[in-house]
């Protein structure tokens, strides 16, 4: 019985040591210390072994498992996205429970990679002259290539057993692509299960359906999807990419490469409408113009009229913001009708893997500025993809929001460890400390004032065989629009979504 009595204390001690190691785990000089800690972990785990028998007692002491509520669409029109996110959460929770964490801390390790042409030799100081201020350019440029750092494994020992010594329990429910069910299940997770953290939401309609409930109970809520931006909510942390990160870079590239005339075809709800508004506002900044905007209801699945409208309008390229399985029909139908315009998007390909689902060349010349896509060639991503398919060998694809859910669950674990508690207000404060997490995409920065994430953005393009390559890279684009709107959730709590209508920026440059 003595051992049992001691057990929680050992765990507590253990946790404290590991928190230290956590903070310094990016520092190579702490290797020996880490070794020591690892050894001591093993020792203390061994000591704690009898605790398994009395795990009820131990969890009663520490409040039972840490509950992460996860709500996504596992059936219905949006199941194709929800299933990926559900698997992402399962993978992350399994890793946390196995004592693993993604690297990160106050500042990321950085340096993911660059795209460009290579020099024949590394640049040298002062070659050919005594002038050491002169740096040669390494000789003639040879082939265009992707250069990226084969960085260290980002999944490291957390030194923790679950979160703060408590196992993590994932409560994953099915929203059935139905906003009413979303609201019911959110209430169940918050009031019934009393989850420590809620990770949920694919469409903006789903998010806006549950956000009032989240705010009613001040529930810590992580929204992991890419979306139109603008949510300034003290309880909500948005870890997906937003318009200033995705729309502006791709519109800029497309206008320069293919021409200024843009045809926008978008899903008719808040995401499509607001992303189209961003496109309209930023196109003039880079010399483009929107010649036509068409909003398509989510139920529409026959696109012959839209295809004829596009042909009548003769754009230089098409901005497609289509959502859901009905609307994906646009791609094969457009290809069969011989529509061969270049395309850009913020959602298609990276979310619904249309380039894998539809026969070639329906997605030929589709461009998307993504924060994640399965094809990213870096080592950290190859490792992540491997781990994923080891756990879920039958999965068809890993989309950008699945990766977001994956690192977000790890981010929550890191924040709870930093806070030293799962008490929700304390974890929210910890998430507002300017944390960086090393995600498969690269370093992700949780910007404290706006609760949005700075992302590594890459411009991906599919060719006629639907192979994906990368044209440009922005290692970190800050989410700046809410800062422009004066949002600082650390200083002043707000619970609203800003929309482009509130900002004169959106009409400043329009004709």
């Amino acid at each position: 019985m003595n051992i049992i009595d001691e057990n929680p204390r050992i765990r507590e001690q253990n946790t404290k040591i590991e928190n230290e190691s956590e903070e310094s785990s990016d520092n190579p000089s702490s290797d020996s210390r880490r070794e020591f800690i690892k050894a001591s972990t093993v020792a203390s785990v061994a000591l704690a072994m009898p605790a398994i028998i009395t795990s009820d007692f131990a969890s009663a002491q520490s409040g039972g498992p840490v509950k992460i509520g996860h709500l996504e669409d596992l059936s219905g029109n949006l199941a194709v996205y929800g299933l990926q996110k559900d698997h992402a959460a399962q993978l992350a929770v399994a890793e946390i429970n196995a004592g693993l964490t993604l690297k990160g801390g106050p500042i990321g390790s950085g340096g993911v990679g660059v795209f460009g042409s290579t020099a024949t030799q590394p640049p040298l100081m002062g070659t050919g002259s005594g002038d050491l201020n002169y740096l040669d350019d390494g000789g003639d440029r040879s082939n265009e290539t992707v250069a990226y750092v084969e960085d260290d494994e980002i999944l490291v020992e957390s030194g923790d057993d679950g979160i703060l010594g408590r196992p993590v329990e994932l409560l994953n429910l099915d929203g059935q692509s139905n906003n009413n069910i979303w609201q019911q299940l959110t209430r169940k997770l918050i009031q019934g299960d009393k989850v420590d953290c809620l990770v949920a939401g694919f469409t903006s309609a789903e998010r806006e359906a549950i956000r009032p409930i989240v705010d009613q109970f001040n529930q810590l809520y992580i929204y992991t999807n890419q979306y139109e931006g603008g949510v300034a909510d003290a309880n909500t942390f948005c870890t997906g990419a937003i318009c200033e990160q995705q729309v502006i870079p791709v519109v800029d590239y497309m206008v320069k490469k293919f021409g200024p005339r843009i045809y926008t075809i978008a899903a008719d709800y808040n995401f499509g409408q607001l992303t189209a508004a961003w496109t309209k506002a930023t196109a003039p900044l880079v010399g483009g113009e929107i010649i036509e905007e068409e909003f398509v209801p989510l139920e529409v699945s026959n696109f012959s009229t839209s295809i004829a409208r596009i042909q009548a309008a003769k754009p230089d390229w098409i901005f497609t913001l289509l959502v859901g399985s009905n609307q994906s029909n646009y791609y094969p139908q457009a290809a069969a009708a011989g529509l061969e315009y270049p395309m850009a998007s913020t959602v298609n390909m990276a979310q619904g893997y249309e380039h894998r689902r539809f026969s070639t060349p329906s997605l030929n010349r589709m461009h998307n500025c993504v924060n994640y896509i399965e094809e990213i060639p870096t080592k950290r991503n190859r490792d992540f993809v491997k781990r994923w398919y080891e756990m879920f060998p039958d999965d068809p694809y890993i989309g950008q929001m699945a990766q977001n859910t994956y690192f977000s669950v790890h981010l929550y674990a890191k924040a709870a460890r930093l806070a030293g508690t799962t008490e929700q207000e304390a974890v929210k404060r910890a998430l507002e400390t300017g944390m960086t997490i090393e995600a498969p995409e690269g370093a992700v920065f949780m910007e404290p004032a706006t609760h949005h994430a700075g992302h590594c953005i890459r411009l991906a393009v599919a060719d006629e065989n639907h192979h994906v390559s990368f044209l440009r890279e922005w290692p970190m684009i800050t989410p700046w629009w809410l800062q422009r709107m004066g949002v600082n959730l650390v200083g002043k709590k707000e619970y609203k979504q800003y929309i482009p209508d509130e900002d004169p920026y959106f009409t400043m440059f329009s004709n």
Partner: protein, 291 residues
């Protein structure tokens, strides 16, 4: 923009949308018109057809060879559903509605569990032709031929063959039909199987133009019901034909000049007005009556 290519494009769009409505609704229409059963699993039976053709194509069969298989699998599924559930629910319109709705859910969720959220799609055959500023998918034109061909085939079946006569007799006056020796239950089984077979065939033939997913049925159900309600069950063939034509005549120009959203609204407004003006459907209007 030249006027002639624009008109040709409008005609093409109109015909393809009408073909879509006809293919979506024909199986539903037969079951409703003949048996007065509202089959809410209609979309899922179309989904089964699409899955059958997709699976067979991916295992190497040519696409067009899969279509008869779709029809047969649809018939068998329909026969099974009729034998197990529907035959206990004749004259109980609402019970049948709830049961078929539940069946639809089970079929869709079961497909999700077995085949996952998506299947790779079938390549659309044939390619495209150009005229003026517009290009047209040859397969969509083929679908138009299939849709109107199906209607013609049904017309011949119901109006020129003995079995068609028996079916229409059962549909109009079941008691009298029984007295002259027509097996009403057999006719109902055959009708439900045949309607399901047509739905699965339509799902198969539409499969290349659509996403192959467990819940794909929902995209067909709304257009199918609107077409059926506007057309009315007075005469299956003319009902479907007039209804699809009338709805398309509104949707196409509105959609072309004002966008997809306005086109969808136009379709609903047209349906609303038509139902208000003739609550029993277009096929019940005297001038349209063919018999």
């Amino acid at each position: 923009m030249d006027l002639v290519p624009l008109l040709v494009s409008l005609l093409y769009q109109g015909l393809t949308i009408a073909a879509f409505l006809i293919l979506c609704s024909i199986g539903l229409m037969i079951i409703l018109g003949m048996m007065n059963i509202i089959n809410l699993a209609h979309g899922e039976i179309m989904m089964i057809g699409a899955y059958v053709s997709t699976i067979l194509v991916s295992s190497g069969l040519p696409f067009f060879a899969t279509l008869p298989v779709c029809f047969i699998v649809g018939c068998l599924t329909g026969y099974l559903i009729e034998q197990l559930f529907i035959r206990h629910l004749y004259d109980r319109l609402l019970s049948a509605l709830v049961v078929t709705w539940g069946l639809g859910l089970i079929l869709a969720q079961g497909t999700l569990l077995i085949f996952g959220p998506f299947m790779p799609s079938i390549e659309i055959p044939f390619g495209s032709i150009q005229y003026g500023d517009f290009t047209f998918s040859v397969y969509q034109i083929f679908l138009v031929a299939v849709a109107f061909g199906t209607l013609l085939g049904l017309h011949i079946l119901f109006h020129k063959t003995p079995i068609g006569l028996k079916t229409r007799a059962t549909m109009q006056l079941p008691e009298v039909a029984r007295t002259i020796g027509i097996d009403q239950h057999l006719m109902y089984s055959l009708t439900f199987s045949f309607g399901s077979g047509l739905a699965a065939f339509a799902g198969g033939v539409l499969a290349p133009t659509t996403t192959i997913a467990p819940f794909m049925g929902t995209q067909f159900v709304a257009p199918a019901f609107i077409t059926v309600v506007v057309g009315g069950a007075h005469n299956i063939i003319t009902g479907t034909l007039y209804s699809a034509t009338a709805l398309t005549a509104v949707k196409t120009p509105v959609g072309m000049f004002l966008g997809a959203f306005a086109g969808t609204v136009g379709l609903f407004v047209a349906a609303l007005i038509l139902i208000r003006l003739c609550p029993n459907g277009l096929s019940s209007i005297k001038v349209f009556r063919t018999r």
